[in-house]
């Protein structure tokens, strides 16, 4: 069984665990686990979509969170204006993301390297300030969504378990779609363009149109994540589009591993779980060492997370997934 590697077993275990989160939450009565993992699964979709352009396509976008906002605002604004049907909200949201990706991608993809990073960041900042200036829809304070997307009684998104599984299925579908994409002819072109753009042109590929298509697909997939996020929090604000959010998505992909489709899923779980549990860990360890509650010290969890990220980038260039992959070879 050449597929039975340490990496594959662990990844399968992770996927099974994600599939069982509602059951575990029910058994342990831990509702916070549900909230946390719904969020993780949703942001994993965004990280996987970013990795399609960044890891496979070599297009390092520093503005990917813009699509979280566009997807979210499309849902929020339509709900606010009285259009509650998911059959309208979701396609409109995805279409808005596609249009934004098409326009910004068409311009960004004329640049390379650092300039590409900067121009994607600039576009995301632009849309961030558009959000801030939307007075009718809450501006800075954001927009509360009073009713989740309505699917005519077919699916009830207000039910926590149902909603979790909708997100989980969306994540699995996204991963499978990206997997098929990167191994298709289209995916070979995308990866070839990452590896050696000049050579791609010399052997006869008009690379631009393929990269742009890929950029639009990734934008729409991230838009899906934005739709779900707005539905989970019943709220959307410019904060979801802040550039630090784009940075979080990059960290997820780099931490988990950019070389595989599922790497960013691992990264999303690792980052968000650490973010959640490091503060607790600090207070427990701090109290144990000093003998009294350490209080504010737990605010410094980033001091631990930062060096961990550094170590991954320096010593494990394939991310967590890359490290697991290596175990097989030894």
């Amino acid at each position: 069984m050449k597929n039975l590697t340490v990496r594959n077993v662990l990844v399968a275990a992770l996927v099974i665990f994600l599939g069982l989160v509602p059951v575990i939450a029910q058994m342990t009565g831990n509702t916070f686990l549900m909230t946390l993992f719904t969020r993780i699964v949703i942001l994993a979709i965004a990280a996987v979509s970013l990795n399609l352009i960044m890891g496979f396509g070599g297009m390092v976008s520093f503005g990917h969170a813009a699509y979280l906002g566009i997807g979210g605002y499309a849902v929020g604004i339509l709900a606010y204006e009285g259009i509650g049907s998911g059959f309208i909200q979701w396609p409109v949201a995805l279409l808005a993301c596609a249009v934004f990706a098409l326009i910004t991608g068409a311009l960004s993809l004329r640049t390379r390297g650092v300039y590409f990073i900067m121009i994607t960041l600039a576009f995301a900042q632009m849309i961030y300030y558009v959000g801030v200036s939307l007075d009718r829809y809450g501006a800075d304070d954001g927009l509360t969504i009073y009713k989740r997307s309505d699917f005519a009684g077919l699916i009830n998104l207000s039910d926590r378990t149902t909603f979790y599984y909708v997100c989980f299925v969306c994540l699995m579908a996204t991963c499978y779609l990206v997997y098929r994409l990167v191994n298709s002819r289209f995916g070979m072109v995308i990866q070839g363009a990452r590896s050696n753009l000049r050579r791609m042109r010399a052997i006869g590929f008009p690379t631009y149109r393929y990269q742009l298509t890929c950029f639009v697909i990734a934008g729409m997939l991230c838009g899906l994540s934005g739709i779900l996020l707005a539905n989970q929090t019943d709220f959307v604000s410019p904060a979801v589009m802040h550039w630090t959010r784009s940075g979080d998505l990059i960290v997820m992909a780099v931490l988990g591993g950019m070389g595989s489709v599922l790497g960013p899923v691992i990264g999303a779980v690792a980052l968000l779980v650490l973010e959640e549990w490091l503060p607790h860990l600090i207070s427990i360890v701090g109290e144990f060492v000093t003998g009294h509650p350490v209080g504010a010290a737990k605010e410094y969890w980033a001091l631990i997370l930062g060096p961990m990220l550094l170590l991954v980038v320096l010593f494990a260039r394939g991310g967590i997934d890359g490290v697991l992959e290596k175990i097989r070879r030894d």
């Binding site: 098929r180 994409l181 191994n183 298709s184 002819r185 289209f186 995916g187 070979m188 072109v189 990866q191 070839g192 590896s195 050696n196 000049r198 050579r199 791609m200 042109r201 010399a202 052997i203 006869g204 590929f205 008009p206 690379t207 393929y210 298509t213």
Partner: protein
């Protein structure tokens, strides 16, 4: 010369005050192996990149198979049958050898907006790729990641990729660069065979190889073609000896020795 496959007409390229290509006229009929020699900095690679479309001439035209291609983008020239290998190895280093060649095949097998079927399972792509690797003697390395291959193998792979694009003409930019004598000899053999099937423009420093392969030779000095002719004529040309061969006594004797 209307039957020329590649016709370069008055091509001039200026970089600021420097004339990298100075009114170059060349006409290469189908079936010929035409070599371009010249000292370092003579503008050989500049000429090649104008033929592939990576830079546009300041003035002059390039025609391929009777069609003016001066303004065509690089990928269109490849699709029309003008293939090139790079002087400095330019491959997909993180792919396997066969993936590299299969990608070249794919470029010429319709558009690549195919999102679902696994490209690595398509015989339509893999088989021609295998054949091209076979042709340059690399089939035993098909599944090796390119970054783990030797320099000589990289040079062979460069040619396999050019072949895989089903070209009508090959532009080979110093294919022997950095090769040992044994590897060079093997590549000369491969090129002798390819020469029967393709029109070739060969830029090369290795004089043994050039005189063994070329039907005609052009000498480029400071961006100008100072002579074009049969190998014997070039060897005997006084200007050439002074401007180029004369600079390197060793090469001169080697060349004379050949004649």
């Amino acid at each position: 010369m209307t039957d020329a496959l590649l016709k370069i007409d008055g091509v001039t390229k200026r970089f600021g005050g420097i004339l990298a290509s100075d009114n170059i006229n060349l006409s290469i009929p189908a079936g010929e192996l035409h070599a371009i020699i010249g000292p370092n900095g003579a503008g050989k690679t500049t000429l090649i990149t104008q033929l592939t479309g990576e830079i546009t001439p300041t003035s002059g035209t390039v025609a391929f198979a009777g069609e003016d291609i001066t303004a065509l983008p690089t990928y269109m020239r490849s699709l029309k049958g003008l293939a090139r290998s790079f002087q400095i190895t330019s491959l997909f280093m993180d792919f396997t050898a066969i993936d590299n060649v299969a990608l070249a095949v794919q470029a010429h097998a319709g558009n690549s907006f195919q999102f679902w079927k696994k490209a690595r399972d398509e015989r339509e792509l893999r088989e021609p790729a295998r054949a091209a690797l076979e042709r340059v003697g690399l089939s035993h390395k098909a599944d090796t990641i390119v970054s783990n291959m030797s320099h000589g193998e990289h040079r062979q792979l460069e040619i396999a990729m050019a072949l895989a694009t089903k070209p009508r003409m090959l532009l080979l930019d110093e294919p022997m660069a950095g090769m040992g004598p044994e590897e060079s000899a093997r590549l000369v053999k491969t090129l002798l065979e390819l020469k029967r099937q393709y029109t070739i423009l060969l830029v090369e420093h290795d004089m043994d190889a050039v005189f063994a392969l070329a039907d005609r030779i052009s000498v480029l000095v400071y961006g100008r073609v100072i002579a074009t002719g049969l190998p014997d004529e070039i060897r005997a040309n006084a200007d050439v000896r002074q401007a180029y061969l004369g600079e390197q006594e060793a090469v001169t004797t080697q060349v004379t020795h050949h004649g």
